[in-house]
Amino acid sequence: MTSHADVFRIADATFGSRLIMGTGGAPSHEILESALKASGTELTTVAMRRVAPGEAGSLLDVITGLGIRLLPNTAGCFTAREAVLTAKLAREALQTDWLKLEVIADERTLLPDPVELLDAAEQLVDDGFLVLPYTNDDPVLARRLEQLGCAAVMPLGSPIGTGLGIRNPHNIGMIVEQAGVPVILDAGVGTASDAALAMELGCDAVLLASAVTRAQDPTRMAEAMAKAVEAGRLARLAGRIPKRFHAEASSPMEGRADLD
């Protein structure tokens, strides 16, 4: 079937699913497990926090039990220094050099800080991390991150948790047009059509969490997102019809009976 042959690559790793589902925001590990399963994701994010007895272990059990690859993030870091140290702790704790790099400017917008982000990305690439940076939708910043050696760029559709979808498809289109590494839409997805649109714009994958974990029925929404990402990818590959101002008949106008 068309979609199966179409694997998604980050560096040397390949994935059958182009949906990356984060673990943030789930009301319980049970619901998270059910949603992760329904999403079909093969890569999921976790954050690093001070140990709270009992918790941590079971989360990793859920993820590894499902055979999903871990992608630790640096969520909540405001400086390159914090992000780099958090990344090293994550690598030590989880034995992976994959990293979702997040360096935010403030808690209200949770938008990335371009300067700290570039600084952290450079240090971490040099230190051998496989860096997947959460960035804004600026094509120039995306290009600089790629030039620093990031394995992908992950522009936002809209701020984290807003569910506003893709506010600026034109920028995402420009990023896709120029990118030499995978483009992963990260943050802002609110519903299935947002995820489909991201893929139609040419993104290679979609990363989301709240849209699923905070939905009224997370498992069903996870299933929706899985199908939406496949749908958008297939539509991109299938080559959509052009947009026209005027109508074009799908039934032939010739051969109509004379019935008046």
Binding site: G24, V51, L59, L60, K88, L89, E92
Partner: protein, 66 residues
């Protein structure tokens, strides 16, 4: 011996190692990492490394996020 663990002042035995401390904090050490005074200490060194008076320790693990 007074140290700071995850921001809290804690009293630990004078000959305590990182391994002892982590064991206290969580059932299984898997999935945890430790920074002492801002430097990561690899798990392989935990049983050797003694905690010093006044150390600031961060013991982290993976939680839902992102």
């Amino acid at each position: 011996m007074n140290v700071t663990v995850n921001g809290r002042h804690t009293d630990v035995a004078s000959d305590a190692t990182l391994a002892d401390l982590v064991a206290q904090l969580c059932a299984r050490p898997t999935g945890t990492a430790v920074a002492v005074n801002g430097d990561v200490v690899p798990r392989s060194a935990w049983s050797r490394q003694r905690i010093a008076d006044g150390d600031a320790l961060e013991v982290l693990a993976a939680v839902q996020g992102g």
